[in-house]
């Protein structure tokens, strides 16, 4: 098993004919993802690596039965694209696009909830269930099938950690990039809840960073509801307050979101913390 996505997801790509779209459709097909449609307004009738392109999500869904969308469109069109996917009945939306105004994200995150859809991102690398599917831009070669679930607010850092797991022979059930923005659709809590229920997940790795209170919220949740061992790394222990460390989300603003607060919360919830990202693999070897 896996969480959120598996080999059954039929994926359409919004922003299919751009540079990124073409490249990642190819990468996903290589990974084994069922990419069934692309959508680019005005480009209906073309194809990308043999995948048919449609003018609208509604037509793509009608014609191909796609139930999942990968959103790669530029930031200023992202809200419209997500709304379009949700209105067309898509049940899983993965938003890669970065620099989306957070007021837009706020709207589409709540609209996804209204629609009963799973929204991952924005500003995330996507999600991969090794051996089954990869929906996003994560490098396909770092994964290994296994029993560790990974949920992360960071991109490259996730690759780093997943890669070090795989190198040590520790495979993954699902790796989900939650996104580095202040407003994201799926948080640690939803991921933890899903991993807890997933029979093939034996341990969970959380990759957090400064900014917001997602880690503190997760720690509370772990205390109450999570029985599986949880490991964590938090980036930004030494980041100075007020500096945006690349992500709009990763900022210690108005006294909130410090690494100390997150570390303390995790410790209280009996989450094992790694000092260096690559230590996670050692910790898991030791405890699981």
């Amino acid at each position: 098993m896996s969480i959120f996505v598996d080999e059954k997801n039929k994926v359409l790509v919004q922003g299919a004919t751009g540079h990124q779209g073409v490249f990642h459709i190819g990468e996903m097909l290589n990974f084994g993802t069922k990419v069934v449609a692309g959508v680019t307004p005005g480009k209906g009738g073309q194809d990308v690596h043999g995948v048919p392109v449609f003018d609208s999500v509604r037509e793509a869904v009608d014609e191909t039965g796609a139930d999942t969308s990968l959103v790669l469109v530029p930031a200023r069109f992202a809200k419209d694209a997500v709304f379009e996917a949700l209105d067309a009945g898509v049940k899983t939306v993965v938003v890669i696009t970065e620099n989306i105004p957070f007021h837009d994200a706020m709207e589409f995150v709540h609209y996804a909830k209204y629609k009963g859809a799973l929204l991952i991102g924005p500003n995330c690398p996507g999600i991969a269930s090794p051996g089954k599917t990869k929906i996003g831009i994560l490098p396909g070669n770092i994964f290994k099938v296994g029993n560790v679930g990974v949920a992360s607010r960071s991109g490259t850092l996730t690759y780093e950690i997943v890669n070090s797991l795989s190198e040590k022979g520790i495979g993954q059930s699902t790796c989900v990039g939650l996104g580095g923005d202040p407003i994201i659709g799926t948080t640690f809590i939803e991921a933890l809840d899903a991993f807890e229920k997933d029979k093939d997940t034996k341990a969970v790795v959380l990759v957090g960073e400064i900014g917001g209170t997602a880690e503190e919220d997760a720690a509370e949740y772990i205390k109450e509801y999570i029985s599986k061992p949880v490991f964590a790394f938090i980036a930004g222990r030494t980041a100075p307050p007020g500096k945006r460390m690349g992500h709009a989300g990763a900022i210690i603003a108005r006294g909130k979101g410090t690494a100390e607060s997150k570390i303390k919360a995790f410790e209280k919830a009996d989450v094992k913390l790694a000092r260096f990202p690559t230590d996670i693999a050692d910790l898991i070897e030791k405890y699981v």
Binding site: A105, P139, T156, T213, F233, G246, H247, A250, G255
Partner: protein, 369 residues
């Protein structure tokens, strides 16, 4: 983007919220019709101006001239004061706190209000701050306003006026893509007006494209920062002497953490993000050289950004211009082996682990000694 107080007040005026009579002043003649006493306020994008001497009262023209001279040009928490706002002093009957911000956990706008206006909100006890969340799917409703107003202990007429201010700042918050709209204090004057005595507005940088009327204040960039900005390279300037090139925000932060662990101090940070263009890497490396760090630490996980792309960019610079500081590289991921070959060619040794690389960089930079 943090707006200067006077810019925030311009927006308040646009939304029908009263602010004190005032203007930016540069010299004596600018005071002619404002009347006295006046308040002179340094315009800088940081808080705590009052305690730092950036806000002064002036009783007459002579006094105003002196105080203006004291404030203009002073250094406030790293910002040189270049603009001063002069405002007619206002007779305060009552002070409130009012703000709209973002609740990240609930993913909703959060209204906060308190009858304890004028104080730093972080120092007001929790039970004296009233909170109401607004669902973005339906927007601000009468019941939200009623709840907040009912808690502030206001008279009927006062309640109506604060309702109107709240309605307007919520509108401003949404229409201008704000992270924060704060009025602290919102005051009732003895002649019955409701006036925003201060403004704190932060606009989401990602949304500036749709607000062409919001022009960034002139904030001095160093030549390097300017260069980075023009080249679209994410650039962070910290206190230390180790130059770091990494890709991705999380990895950048993790690198800083590792350096600090080994008592090293990060200086300039360049985040390559998701580029796979050797030219851009070259530009970044050139930029880094110009920053003259004591050590350069290249920490990379190759995915979309392939390791050999980066190695090629680095090599191009070194073989052309040479390099006058040690370069520690630590490279993992896509095409790692190719990259190591290239860097070896360029005379650079690659470390095996992040810890090893961070420690070596820190030691070379003189950290921990």
């Amino acid at each position: 983007m943090k707006l200067f107080e006077y810019r925030g007040k311009e927006l308040f005026k646009k939304y029908g919220i009263m602010v004190p009579n005032g203007r930016l002043v540069e010299s004596e003649k600018d005071f002619f019709d404002l009347g006295f006493p006046l308040v002179l306020k340094a315009q800088v994008p940081v808080g705590g101006r009052g305690k730092a001497g950036g806000i002064k009262k002036a009783d007459n023209l002579k006094d105003a001239k002196v105080k203006l001279g004291q404030i203009m040009g002073m250094n406030l928490r790293g910002y040189k004061v270049r603009k001063v706002l002069a405002e007619k002093m206002i007779d305060i009957k009552k002070e409130l706190y009012l703000s709209v911000s973002l609740d990240r956990s609930k993913r909703m706008p959060l209204i906060m209000a308190s009858a304890e206006g004028g104080m730093d909100i972080e120092s007001v006890s929790d039970e004296k701050i009233f909170k109401e969340w607004v669902n973005p799917l339906i927007g601000l409703q009468s019941f939200n306003i009623r709840y907040i107003i009912s808690k502030l202990g206001l008279g009927k007429e006062e309640g109506k006026e604060v309702s109107e201010v709240l309605t307007q700042i919520y509108k401003l918050f949404r229409e201008y893509d704000c992270e924060l709209v704060e009025i602290n204090p919102l005051v009732f004057t003895s002649d019955g007006n409701v006036v925003a005595l201060d403004s704190k507005i932060i606009i989401n940088d990602d949304a500036l494209f749709r607000h062409p009327d919001i022009i960034p204040e002139h904030v001095e960039l160093t030549p390097l920062e300017k260069d980075a900005k023009e080249k679209g390279i994410s650039f962070i300037q910290l206190d230390g002497n180790i130059g770091v090139i990494a890709n991705g925000a999380g990895l950048t932060m993790a690198t800083l953490d590792a350096l600090t662990h080994f008592k090293g101090k990060g200086g300039v940070f360049l985040d390559l993000g998701g580029t796979d263009d050797p030219e851009k890497v070259k530009q970044a490396f050139e930029l880094m050289k110009k920053a003259k760090p004591k050590v350069i630490f290249l920490n990379l996980f190759g995915g979309i950004t392939k390791c050999d792309t980066v190695a090629k960019g680095v090599k191009a610079v070194i073989s052309k211009e040479g390099i006058d500081c040690p370069v520690i590289t630590r490279i993992k991921g896509m095409n790692e082996d190719k990259a190591k070959e290239i860097l070896k060619d360029a005379g650079l040794v690659t470390a095996t682990t992040l810890q090893d690389a961070a420690q070596r960089s820190s030691d070379l930079a003189g950290g921990g000694k």
